[in-house]
Symmetry: C2
Subunit: 143 residues, 2 copies
DNA sequence: CTGTGTGCAAACTCTTTGCATAAGT
DNA sequence: ACTTATGCAAAGAGTTTGCACACAG
């Protein structure tokens, strides 16, 4: 579904939240506008929390976590299993893959045009595919 | 390099460890034989720890972590970034990919014959590829 | 009003670290 | 002997939970 939220961001964010069965509270609206303001992003709970505090939206970290998970469940975000401890959330829910820059811990989208998945292997008995994640790990060329 | 460790597991494990610059201590030998006894495996530190205790090798969890990381650095293991908190170590160091069964948190190797990576996308300026990880997330068919 | 959301702090899980003791060469 | 590993317990990072208060409908 598409809501043209370019016209009035706050109003349609409210609609999106309502549509997802989430009450459009101050915090959720604020977080949603931070998350979805700048197009595709990858962020951790910590990052979003700091960003919120930075623009004087004093949410608690717990609420950030709750909100991110609620948005994920609503299909507005996607969890990105990259590495170790930190969980990243991806605002691009469509089918695409990722570069991951080691050292920087930076996640970069791979445009979905660059089709890469060739023939899938046979899936084990009684199982079905949820999704296919490709992560290309990069390092800076020493130079 | 290949050492035929089928002949006498303990002796050649010692050699492997020595070759990696690791002193072949009781704990490392015991853990190595648990890890490499049964062919390709995916295990977490917790699992290995319990397994060790189960066969009366009383190592501490800290030592298990240390050992797994040392083995990884020595190229005998590979870290598997699957999901969230837990770190999995893969005894299959060669080029291959994985199924991940959601719910069970089970990791299954995809035989490297099933080539899947087609055309890789252009790599960002100044970067080089470390490796390509493909994880196919599965769920049990409800039935 | 009524129910859901939020903030806080405490709890939890996985992992790492510091330091005294034990073991390898 | 001399050096490196180990064990323990404590610290650390990231995430979650429980409960009183606040807010949306």
């Amino acid at each position: 579904m598409h809501i043209s939220y370019e016209i009035d961001a706050d109003v349609s964010l409210q609609e999106r939240l309502r549509f997802a069965g989430l009450r459009p509270t101050r915090q959720r609206i604020a977080l949603a506008s931070l998350i979805f303001a700048k197009g595709d992003r990858h962020l951790s709970a910590e990052e979003l929390h700091e960003e919120a505090l930075g623009v004087n939206v004093p949410v608690s970290l717990a609420t950030v976590y709750n909100t991110l998970h609620q948005f994920t469940q609503a299909g507005m975000l996607r969890i990105l299993a990259v590495e170790g401890a930190k969980t990243y959330f991806d605002t691009n829910v469509s089918d695409h893959h990722h570069f991951f820059v080691e050292g920087d811990n930076e996640v970069i989208d791979i445009p979905s045009g660059s089709t890469m998945v060739g023939n899938l292997p046979p899936v084990p008995e009684g199982m079905e595919i949820v999704n296919v994640d490709i992560i290309i790990r990069l390092r800076k060329k020493r130079g």
